[in-house]
């Protein structure tokens, strides 16, 4: 099925438009060829290759819409899918929130997205990556578990008003958790790239191994409020959760942390420390992404928080029309600006604090205050006088990213990183935060 060249994708979507009998039709194609390898206990556990392509068709009659999806592309399947979308649309009640199909748009060129070398990864390359990772752990008498997934995808969108977009993309994501043989210490590392030639699995594995070995003997310190140094993998989920919740409609409707008492939103208000700037930009060379969102809106550069001030909320096309505001595309990436120096520099300039490698199982406790709970994991250390002094037991935290970013102390240079459970494309800097709330100890290693 995959790959789809631009002309093949256009031809397929033109066929769909030709089949349409509704008043309006839009279609999205996503084809993916993906390979992966998992290893654990210093051996390969599972590995596979998958080819798939899905076509999603939305048909409309006035303000009635229906959607159908299929992964077969013969004439009969295409016809059946278009007819099903039309049938659902005819049966659906009117939705006053349906907006007209978008006119043709100009999407930014994203040259860095697709890399041939990533699309050409072989089972042998994956096995060799796993072998090098395992070897790094074995050298320190440790046990490795990890994962490499590479994917090439071909995305296209089309509607009956003539809109068309095509975007091929490759990614390779690698992560490793190394544990000491007795299970007393654990360390993690990961890297997320578009170009597999820039993947440095062996050095990431060595770093994870060093962290595991360094956390063989842990001390328990009391829960409470601490200065923390959050590595990018420790803050990335909380940062994304802050941004996932920036819908204008929810804020206007009074059910968001961005709602103001008495009505209205916090748009234009200072929300967090003035050194915090977060924006989206599909054309970022370090973090390319598809240049349109689910509504077909171009993903141009959009600041969300600028110098601590809420600069934009996310307006869907419908809500933008209601509020007489420009619509904002659903972001495909988030980039948080940083400061100077590296993680090591942050550690060197810290008198007393907790260094957190990674956080885990973060869940919302209160949407009103954006309070989240979660845990530290795979490398938590106490820092004293600018040096890592000793490994400490993991903590549960209860913290709001709003409070966290108000207690900002210092930022280093941003790094591309993937979250533990949020899978967006993100760059965040290592950061030092005052008074981060650790509420209880965890025995987990």
């Amino acid at each position: 099925m995959p790959p789809f060249s631009e002309s093949e994708a256009r031809a397929l979507l033109d066929r769909v438009m030709g089949l349409s009998q509704s008043e309006g039709c839009s279609a999205d194609l996503q084809a993916t060829r993906s390979g992966n390898i998992r290893f654990a206990r210093n051996a390969v556990s599972t590995s596979g290759i998958t080819d798939d392509a899905t076509l999603t068709v939305q048909s409309r009659y006035g303000r009635k819409t229906g959607t159908a999806q299929v992964n077969q592309f013969d004439d009969e399947s295409l016809t059946r899918t278009v007819r099903r979308a039309e049938e659902l649309a005819r049966l659906a009640p009117e939705d006053p929130e349906v907006v007209p199909l978008l006119e043709p748009q100009r999407y930014a060129a994203v040259p860095a997205g697709f890399v041939d070398a990533t699309a050409a990864v072989t089972p042998e390359f994956r096995a060799d990556t796993a072998a090098a990772s395992i070897a790094a752990a074995r050298q320190q008498s440790c046990v490795a578990a990890g994962y490499l997934v590479d994917a090439a995808s071909w995305n296209a969108t089309r509607n009956s008003r003539g809109l068309f977009g095509y975007y091929p993309d490759t990614t390779a994501d690698y992560s490793i958790t190394v544990r000491t043989e007795n299970g007393g210490g654990s360390g993690w590392g990961g890297q997320d790239v578009n170009d597999v030639r820039t993947l440095q699995a062996e050095s990431v594995a060595k770093l994870a191994t060093e962290k595991a070995a360094a956390s063989r003997d842990v001390r328990a310190i009391e829960p409470g409020k601490y200065t923390v140094i959050l590595e990018p993998a420790a803050s990335v989920d909380l940062i994304q959760l802050l941004l996932f919740n920036n819908g204008a409609r929810e804020a206007d409707e009074g059910r968001s942390y961005l709602t103001k008492a008495g009505g209205g939103t916090k748009l234009g208000q200072k929300l967090v420390d003035q050194r915090v700037t977060i924006y989206s930009d599909s054309a970022s060379p370090e973090l390319p992404c598809r240049p349109w969102d689910g509504e077909g809106l171009p993903r141009s550069r959009t600041p969300w928080i600028e110098k601590g001030v809420v600069r934009n909320l996310r307006y869907t096309r419908y809500w933008a029309e209601q509020k007489k505001k420009p619509a904002t595309a659903q972001p495909g990436n988030w980039i948080m600006e940083g400061g100077q120096g590296s993680l090591e520099d942050l550690i060197r300039s810290t008198d007393r604090g907790v260094l957190v490698t990674r956080t885990w199982y973060i869940r919302e406790v209160d949407p009103q205050t954006l309070l989240y709970t979660g845990l530290t994991r795979d490398g938590t250390f106490f820092v004293e006088n600018g040096r890592i002094a000793y490994a400490i037991k993991n903590f549960r935290f209860n913290e709001s990213p709003v409070i966290m970013l108000n207690n900002l102390d210092a930022l280093a240079v941003p790094v591309r990183v993937q979250g533990s459970e949020t899978f967006g494309r993100v760059m965040v800097p290592p950061m030092r935060i005052r008074d981060f709330t650790f509420s209880s100890l965890s025995d987990a290693v």
Binding site: I49, T50, V70, Y147, T259
Partner: protein, 538 residues
């Protein structure tokens, strides 16, 4: 591509050279599936596989969503393809494709063998697969009364709109609704000689009601008290016999084998308003009385996950985590997981549960077994390539893949708390509590990667004083340690109160897969649990 004639591949006797199933709405004919399966198995064997299985899957989903009194989305999803798993040179390999013809499935099978051989050089020891007899041609279907996919869209839209209307009239300012239908049509065949055809149905009606106080800028949410279930449209019949009045002082109606979405939306509107005016909890130790609509999730996180053998062995170390329930604790035969009254069992056979199937995704008939017996850890959840580790000769039948394109692996069966032997109602249980909190519905949930430290919220919280519910509370979460928590279990209501809760979205694995799983329990009491106050100011 579909619609093609069988190619040059050597096919078994009886092979026809006519077009194959073309993805129409009718089920795939069994003869087509068998022929495709044999093509894959034969190709895998010829390429050097010592074992192979093939899953031909057709997955149908339907979503209908509403926002207040508007239907916002009606979507039908359909995915069809084949996944082939092999052992070659002692290692696993897998490949999957949405092209389903004899030629392409054979090609996919050969690719799986290539993957296995590339991995074999890293294999410390060959895969050890527990023997499994072939069942020949067998089938299984979810015991549904009315296929929800056959219900007219208008009926579904009307239900969501009526629920929204009911919630909005009762105090909610916003109400978003969902009907989520799942049908897995799965055909499994293996070189062991099984050809298993299964038709699995699930449904989940749900909503979120929100009450807003504009002057203070505050809002309160209340999720539906429904559960996802292995039923058809009959789940939405809201039969009077399936409704239970909550204990005195709660004014809540709870649901069993069927659900009344319109009624629940009305009580959600009322309770969201009430919750916003409730007393903020004073942090401290309380005796908790946990209703099944809440407790299922605590069971899921603190019992279901830590007893997955792949976690215990370290296979999930890089993502979902490992487990505190290590093999030495199990071998001791004396590890006190919970109080004496606590028996927790795994079960893939309970009718209408989300995990119920006839056979798992590696061709093993499903069953029930104990995990914790009278408080002692006695077993794990294991599949064919793991059971030798715990000295068993056959798989426990809990292997699952969420799609034809996903690699099947060990997934949690339904894990449930056995009801108490003595007659005990929730009201009687509350009557025994001096200072406590009664919790209904699941809310926030978080647990560490070895399943020691957890924190849970809920939907509705009621203060218990001297055996009576005296009012609602808010800002409640409880935090505990798994072993400490289950050993604090001081009472479990009887079979009459036993109900299933569950999730469509249990996540595990890399790439992440979801799985639907139920957990049964009756209302239970846990003494002296740490309760936090979660109120903050930003």
């Amino acid at each position: 591509m579909t619609g093609m004639a069988a190619g040059a591949l050597a096919l078994p006797p009886g092979t026809r050279l006519v077009p194959f199933w073309n993805g129409a709405i009718t089920p795939i004919p069994s003869a087509d599936k068998r022929q495709l399966a044999d093509a894959a198995l034969g190709a895998a064997r010829s390429a050097g596989a010592s074992y192979a299985d093939v899953r031909i899957g057709r997955y149908l989903n339907q979503f209908v969503t509403s926002r207040e009194t508007k239907i916002q989305n009606v979507t039908n999803l359909e995915s069809y393809g084949v996944g082939v798993r092999v052992i070659a040179d002692g290692a696993w390999g897998f490949a999957a494709s949405s092209e389903v013809t004899p030629d392409s499935v054979a090609r996919t099978a050969r690719l799986a063998v290539t993957v296995a051989k590339a991995n074999a050089k890293l294999q410390a020891e060959p895969v050890q697969l527990a023997p499994q007899k072939g069942y020949g041609e067998v089938s299984w279907r979810s015991p549904i009364e009315k296929n929800a996919f056959d219900v007219p869209l208008k009926e579904k839209a009307d239900l969501l709109l009526a629920a929204a209307d009911s919630g909005l009239k009762s105090g909610a300012k916003y109400l978003q609704g969902l009907l989520f239908l799942v049908n897995e049509q799965k055909y499994f065949a293996s070189t062991d000689g099984s050809y298993i055809d299964q038709d699995i149905h699930r449904i989940w009606p749900a909503f979120l009601a929100v009450a807003v106080d504009t002057s203070s800028g505050k809002f309160e949410e209340r999720f539906s008290l429904s559960t996802p279930t292995g039923r058809g449209w009959e789940y939405l019949s809201g039969r009077p016999d399936d409704k239970m009045k909550g204990p005195p002082g709660t004014e809540v109606t709870l649901y069993g084998d069927s659900y009344d979405m319109i009624e629940d939306a009305a009580q959600a509107g009322r309770t969201a308003r009430r919750k916003s005016k409730a007393k903020s909890v004073t942090a401290g130790k309380y005796d908790l009385v946990l209703e099944p609509s809440h407790l299922w999730l605590t069971i899921h996180e603190s019992v279901g996950h830590p007893l997955e053998l792949d976690r215990v062995l370290g296979y999930e170390a890089n993502y979902a985590g490992t487990s505190f329930a290590t093999l030495d604790k199990w071998r001791s035969k004396s590890f006190k997981y919970g109080a004496d009254i606590v028996t927790l069992f795994a079960d893939k056979t309970q009718p209408h549960s989300l995990g119920a199937v006839g056979y798992d995704d590696e061709g093993v008939a499903t069953k029930r077994w104990d995990l914790v017996k009278n408080g002692i850890l006695v077993n794990y959840q294991a599949i064919r390539d793991q059971v030798h580790v715990i000295g068993e000769s056959e798989s426990q039948g809990c292997c699952y893949a969420d799609s034809w394109s996903s690699i099947q692996f060990q997934r949690m069966p339904n894990v449930s708390l056995a009801p108490g032997a003595a007659q005990l109602t929730p009201a009687e249980l509350i009557g025994q509590v001096d200072r406590g909190v009664y919790i209904v519905g699941n809310g926030s949930f978080s647990i560490d990667q070895q399943r020691y430290n957890f924190q849970f919220g809920g939907q509705l919280f009621y203060e218990i004083k001297k055996g009576k519910i005296v009012g609602m509370l808010r800002d409640v979460a409880y935090q505990s340690n798994t072993q400490e928590f289950w050993n604090s279990c001081a009472g479990i209501c009887d079979q009459r109160d036993y109900r299933l809760g569950g999730s469509f979205f249990d996540g595990k694995g890399q790439p992440p897969q979801i799985s639907a799983v139920s957990h049964g329990c009756a209302t239970a009491r846990f003494n002296g649990v740490n309760v936090l106050n979660t109120a903050r100011k930003i």
